[in-house]
Amino acid sequence: MSNIAGKAYAMNVITPIRWYMVWINRLIFKIALSNPSTLKGLITLSLIHYARWVIIPRDSFPRLDPSQPKEELNYSYMLFFSNFNGSWDQYVDSFTFAIPSGLDLFWKWNVRYPKSVPLTPFHDYIRHNQIDTAHYYNAYPMAASNDVKSAKIVKKALIDFNATSADKAPEDFLNDYNKLLNNLQHHFGDMRPTPIVSLSADAVRKRHLQSQID
């Protein structure tokens, strides 16, 4: 098991919330969704693939089969699910410093939520309620979310460029090509293997490679 695949880390956090407070959280989510500016910080944090908050009411937990007895739950739960690039620490720290009030708004009504600053109680809260990832598949282990976005932009621009400029006279072609490079200049980052996210995860990887050879 590992929370890490390639350049990505998968984080699942599930926290109890008093069932009669759920409506407040739903309202907060609604307001956040209708005011994109509230999520600006989250979107600007370029290490995040995505982040999602979902309320699971206490009577709606999925069952594998109708024969599975229903649980009697005292709390509803909030599931936070996110994939990001970099280490757990880097992610949680970035979150805390970049958008502390946003985090507090989303988690405020969750049981025993400490607030995002000071850092250590928040760290402990997330870690305590995190469910480690048992299986994690990554189709593009060398890509961070920025790389994916850039690749899509470059691909589309090249196809368009080919359609509009391929048959132009050399001088015009060069002008168009330089313009293309200018438009794409922030999308040329190299894609190479990930820097080591954690020495433990790297040791696991090395042992796995070794066992393939033996």
């Binding site: 720290d93 970049a98 600053v117 000071p118 330089n178 200018n182 200049q185 040329f188 190299d190 190479r192």
Partner: protein, 506 residues
Amino acid sequence: MTHKLDLTDIQGNIIKAYGRYNFQKARYLFLRIDDGNKGRKFVGAITTKVTSAVPWDKQDTEGTSAVPQATTNIAFTFDGLQALEIPTASQRGFPDDFIMGMSKRKDILGDDGPSDPANWDKVWKEKVHVWISINGQSIDAVKKRYEWILEQVEASKGGVVLLTGHRGEKGEDNLPYQDASVLYDATGMPTSKEHFGYTDGIGDPVFEGQTNVPARVLGRGKLMRDGTWHPLATGEFLLGHVDEAMEYPKTAPKPWLLAHNGTYMVYRKLHENVGTFNRFLEEQSKSFDGSAEMLAAKFAGRWRNNGAPIVHAPDDASKIEWDQRYAAADEAGKRRMLTDFTYNEDIHGAKCPYSAHLRRINPRGSLEFGVKDAYDTPGALVNRRRILRRGLPYGEVKDSTRDDGNHGIIFMALNADIQRQFEFVQQQWINYANDFKEGNDKEVLLGNHDAKNPSKVVFSAEPGSGKPPHFVSNIPRLVETRGGDYFFIPSITALKAIAAGIVDPT
């Protein structure tokens, strides 16, 4: 809020960059402790000469002291603290990075290929326990203090051993010390340059409790939403003080007395491939739209000759104007011109590239990428990644077309959390660039470039100008690690407690 530091308790090298006070020469010693009791006595003896952070004054007035001829400071590796027999409960309070030491962290730091510990100076194959630095206003002052330290080693009767194994100027590989010195210009005047010709050591962080903060905080503290600069929290650089996360650093060992007013130091001997650098600059400038000096400025974010920030002097013509303004400014104005800038007018990096050394080491709010009020403060992703930089160049370049020899920088980074501050910058911002949206593109000067997978960077052109960006390709490795380790710099109180063997975490 003014936070008063106990400067009598803090080792001087944390607060003072000695080079600024005319200490042109330095000598670094590494020692091993073979006997705990004798080792503690030795630490006690050295402590009598340890330089504190008390401000110096030309006259001996109340509360200040005259500038000494030589300074002495001392720090320990984790193994060294074990050899000094501090209690297990205290040992267990130290963070993993410090316990492991630098060579075991090579995969995080990117110390591979020519920078691999296998290629370091021989002294790093030894058990390094203690670091002692001597900074002197003259080489004679350094030598005099060095002799005194040798006497203390002698007096330990085999309890403490001075380690040999430093590379030297004449091809030696077994020197008992590492010397360092400022570089001098043709007229023999000391400069603040290093071997690639850059003006170094300009924008060190400024934190709560330092003296004369208002004059120095611009561009060096933390950037606030209203555009002002505030000093960083003390706990980013000193244990036992509140940090930017509004808590006491978690890297502090117990008891409080052992940690308080101490910090961690990263010591690195960085060899500079001067011949390669000069050839690379010349080669690259052929295809560059501007002078070779302007290209060199793009690599660093500052012009080589005087440190002018390229963000305010983006090309050869504007550099001439900047120089005129600089010449006309008074001392305070000059300081401002060197440090008081942001990248707000240069969101796209057309002036200062994203991959420039300066922008990578201290992005100054530019990680908001121009999104208005994206984060709590513009420095949200930066304030926890700052390091105090200390050190001096070492060696001399006898032939500027060659790499071999023994010349570079003795680099020391001071921070409260090696992993969160120094290692993060090295791994994520120098050898990787996702935070800058540049994929794996490494910083030009310090990146661990690899001949088998050549690196490149892109220097943006003005967006919408139709001009292509400038591609710098096949970047060779310009700087190689030749040694180093992680050290704990205790307070003077803690030194006395260690020496007396009375560190007690119960």
